[in-house]
C-alpha cells in the first residue's frame, strides 16, 4: 500500500517536473536548478 502511494507521488512529481520544464519558470519567483534530463524539453 505504502509502495503504491509512493509510486503515485513519484508519477505526480515527474508530471509537475515535466510541465515546469516546458515553461520559462516554475511558478512565481523561485527557480530550482533544472535536472539535466529535462533541459532539452
Amino acid at each position: 500500500m505504502k509502495k503504491k502511494a509512493l509510486a503515485a507521488l513519484s508519477v505526480v512529481a515527474t508530471l509537475v517536473a515535466t510541465l515546469a520544464a516546458t515553461s520559462a519558470c516554475v511558478w512565481w519567483f523561485y527557480q530550482p536548478e533544472e535536472p539535466e534530463s529535462l533541459k532539452n524539453l
Binding site: 505504502k2 509502495k3 509512493l6 509510486a7 507521488l9 513519484s10 505526480v12 512529481a13 515527474t14 508530471l15 509537475v16 517536473a17 515535466t18 515546469a20 515553461s23 520559462a24 519558470c25 516554475v26 511558478w27 512565481w28 519567483f29 523561485y30 527557480q31 530550482p32 536548478e33 533544472e34 535536472p35 539535466e36 534530463s37 529535462l38
Partner: protein
C-alpha cells in the same frame, strides 16, 4: 523546503529503486509542487481573512500563468520567493479591493489600456527572461513561449474588455479588473532591469545572517 523535497524524493527513489537522475527529476517536481501549494494556501488564507479572496486568486493565477510563459526576475531562495509572493498577493489584492475602485471609470479604462499596451511592448522586446538555473537556449522554445504569452495577453484583454462593458451596465467588477491589471503590470515589470534589482534587494535581506 527545497531540502524537504529532496529528502522525500530520495525516500521515494530508494523505496522504488530508481536511479539518481529520476530522483533529481522527482525532487524538482516536488519543489515546484510545494511552492505552488504553499503560495496558494497563503493567498487563499490571506484573501479569506481580509475579505479579498477573489482578488487574491486572480493575482495568484494570472501572475503564475503569465510568469510560466514570460519568465522574469527570480528570488535566490525558496523562503525569499514565499515572502515576496505573499506580500505581492496581499498588497495588490488590498489595493484592488479597497483603494483603486474609488477611482472613476475613465481612470480604470485608461489605466487598463496603458498597462496592456506597455505589457505587449515589453513582452515583444524582452520575453522570455530566463534564469541561470533554467536557461531557455533553443530559439524554437523562445518563439513558442512568446506565442503562448501573446495568447494569454489576448485572453486577459478580452476578459478585461468584457468586465469593463459589464461595469458600464451597472456591474460591480472594478476590483477584479484592477487585480488583473496590477498582476499584468507587476509581472511585466519583472522582465525589466528594475524588477530584477527589486528582487535582488529582497534576496539580500534573506541571505543576510540573523
Amino acid at each position: 523546503m527545497e531540502q524537504l523535497a529532496h529528502r522525500w524524493a530520495q525516500k521515494i527513489g530508494t523505496t522504488l529503486g530508481t536511479d539518481e537522475e529520476r530522483i533529481a527529476v522527482m525532487a524538482y517536481g516536488l519543489t515546484a509542487l510545494l511552492q505552488l501549494v504553499l503560495i496558494f494556501l497563503a493567498a487563499a488564507l490571506l484573501g479569506w481573512a481580509l475579505g479579498f479572496f477573489g482578488e487574491s486568486m486572480i493575482v495568484f493565477f494570472s501572475v503564475g500563468f503569465l510568469r510560466r510563459l514570460i519568465g522574469g526576475a527570480h528570488a535566490g531562495s525558496f523562503n525569499g520567493c514565499l515572502v515576496v509572493s505573499i506580500f505581492c498577493i496581499g498588497f495588490f489584492s488590498a489595493l484592488a479591493h479597497y483603494v483603486l475602485p474609488l477611482c472613476p471609470f475613465w481612470v480604470l479604462g485608461g489605466a487598463s489600456l496603458a498597462i496592456y499596451l506597455t505589457a505587449v511592448v515589453l513582452i515583444a522586446r524582452l520575453a522570455p527572461v530566463d534564469s541561470p538555473n533554467k536557461p531557455v537556449r533553443s530559439s524554437e522554445k523562445r518563439r513558442r513561449l512568446r506565442r503562448g504569452a501573446f495568447g494569454v495577453m489576448v485572453a486577459f484583454v478580452l476578459l478585461t474588455a468584457a468586465a469593463l462593458l459589464w461595469q458600464t451596465r451597472g456591474g460591480d467588477c472594478a476590483r477584479y479588473i484592477w487585480a488583473l491589471n496590477l498582476s499584468v503590470l507587476w509581472q511585466t515589470t519583472m522582465l525589466t532591469g528594475c524588477g530584477s534589482r527589486l528582487i535582488r534587494i529582497v534576496d539580500l535581506r534573506f541571505k543576510r545572517p540573523l
